[in-house]
């Protein structure tokens, strides 16, 4: 499939909205599937990379990886702001398929997230499907872009401005 740019870190994430209630994020990683699975499911790995924009750390990363098991991740920003995300695992089929609920608390709707891991010649394709309870909820999440969750800093605006100039 992908032929150009074999250098690590040169893949990009693509986003699609195949239905009114879904967002699908697809990404290829230059690593075998078992390792990518571990990176998505082991706390010592997740807390190293699932960090969004610069400035976030994940001081709490609890994962009870079994159907019905809970997970809880807490992010902290340099200014001390914290964000918590929780959920329950529904399906755990290593290293192929992971289904879990995701909850931001407050007024954010709970979503059901499915990640499918496919090995392609030593690389791994992950297709993450997030299903919202309604189109409105999906659109709101995309539009306001986790405004509260990821926060807005001047650094971010600084980074953005050169791209529009």
């Amino acid at each position: 499939m992908t032929t150009a740019n074999r250098t690590a870190g040169r893949h990009t994430t693509t986003f699609t909205t195949p239905s009114d209630r879904e967002i699908v994020a697809t990404r290829v990683f230059d690593a075998p599937r078992r390792l990518v699975w571990d990176a998505f499911t082991k706390p010592e790995h997740v807390s190293q990379w699932m960090l969004g924009p610069e400035g976030w750390t994940m001081p709490v990363c609890e994962i009870d990886l079994r159907p019905g098991g809970k997970w809880r991740w807490v992010w902290r920003m340099t200014d001390g702001t914290e964000m918590e995300m929780t959920g329950v695992y529904r399906e755990v089929a290593p290293p192929e398929r992971l289904v879990n609920t995701e909850n931001w608390g407050g007024e954010w709707p709970e979503t059901v997230n499915t990640i499918v891991f496919t090995e392609e010649g030593g690389r791994t394709r992950t297709v993450a499907t997030v299903v919202y309870p309604s189109k409105e909820a999906r659109d709101a999440a995309m539009k306001t872009g986790m405004e509260d969750g990821w926060g807005q800093s001047h650094e971010r605006l600084d980074a953005y401005l050169p791209t529009v100039a």
């Binding site: 870190g9 075998p32 390792l35 990176a39 539009k143 872009g145 986790m146 405004e147 600084d158 100039a165």
Partner: protein, 117 residues
């Protein structure tokens, strides 16, 4: 929260390269119309017209009275555009990029490929 109308106005204001250049200049700090006009070959009135569009879009503000009062960037609408355009994506892209590097690191640490299926 950005309404569709706000976003439309903001995008329209950002659609013009001269206006984007003006915003980039104001991102460095407030500037008078004269200072803003300097890099452009277009006339002063043309620059003023662009400034009015940016003001209407709420992207810049100016001192109340005199013409020479400096314009200041108002980041609010831009922030909303940034969120709209990449709030959701940015989290995943940034995380995935970091995972790329992390996986490479892990594989260097474990060259025996014991993760292979």
């Amino acid at each position: 929260m950005a309404s569709a109308d706000t976003l439309t106005t903001t995008f329209a204001a950002l659609a013009d390269p001269t206006r984007r250049a003006i915003l980039a200049r104001l991102a460095e700090g407030p500037a008078t119309v004269k200072e803003i006009s300097e890099p452009f070959v277009i006339s002063g009135p043309a620059v003023s017209k662009h400034l009015r569009v940016l003001e209407k879009a709420g992207l810049i503000t100016r001192g109340r009275e005199a013409q020479w009062r400096p314009r200041t960037l108002d980041a609010g609408p831009l922030r909303e555009v940034a969120e709209y355009a990449d709030g959701y994506r940015r989290f995943w892209e940034a995380s995935h990029d970091r995972l790329d590097a992390y996986l490479e690191e892990l594989q260097q640490k474990e060259p025996n490929d014991d993760h292979r299926e």
